[in-house]
């Protein structure tokens, strides 16, 4: 397992189309309530279901926090989006969600969360991993705890 990514999966008792739909339609239910930027558990997650769509958190008072942007939208098979909780758009990590058949009426949902951006060539991977990982971590968590980060 390469050390620049995290892979997690789960099998659900739904066909592929239904599982894919549940992923983006029910994000306000499955996104862990402990992972919110708005400082209140009652903010609502929204998934804009298209290429370029945003994954965002909308607070009760209307403030929005962007968690990511959809780069690849291939229903009912695959979604690829960035992951940049509150941080600048040049330091994203990438999340790929793949839906594959796992028997009749069952779907395997596999998430691969990796550093860097898919499809970009010629990067010094070690430097990218180092800088992006640390920048994303520090900025992301600073926004998560709503504190200032030195620039």
């Amino acid at each position: 397992m390469p050390d620049d990514r995290v892979v997690r999966d789960v099998e659900v008792a739904l066909g592929g189309g239904a599982a894919f739909a549940a992923w983006h339609e029910q994000i306000h239910l499955w996104w862990p309530p402990t992972h919110r930027l708005a400082g209140e558990a009652s903010s609502r997650m929204v998934f804009e279901p298209r290429e370029g769509g945003r994954i965002l958190e909308r607070a009760v008072d209307g403030r929005e926090f962007e968690w990511g942007r959809v780069q690849i939208w291939e229903p009912p098979y695959r979604i690829v989006h960035t992951w940049l909780p509150g941080g600048p758009s040049d330091t994203p990590t990438s999340v790929e969600v793949v839906f594959s058949p796992a028997g009749e009426g069952r779907t395997l949902v596999r998430v691969t969360h990796s550093t860097g951006q898919l499809g970009r060539e010629g990067w010094d991977r070690a430097k990218v991993r180092f800088d992006h990982g640390w920048t994303a971590l520090l900025r992301g968590f600073a926004h998560h705890t709503q504190r200032e980060v030195p620039s």
Partner: protein
Amino acid sequence: MGEAAARALDAVGEPTRRRVLELLRGGPRSVTDLASELPVSRPAVSQHLSKLHAAGLVTRTVDGRRHLYALRSDGFAAIREYAGSFWSDALARFRIVAETLGNADA
């Protein structure tokens, strides 16, 4: 939230520890070195470094009589702890949500 994620979040959730991480981006530093650039005591810096080390965010090596601290060479190792726990939680919740609502519609 998983244990590892909680430790990582706790480690970076404190402003002085984030400042320590920022200082270490310039390369390995000793405790004394770091303390000279922070508005807290040397023992306090040691405590912060212990927490960062326990959370897997910094490495510690011995150089003569000094302990040198450095960021983990793979910055993503830090995010990996958090991301791993996040997605484990999220997927467990997703299965319950999807199967409950999916079956309700059937």
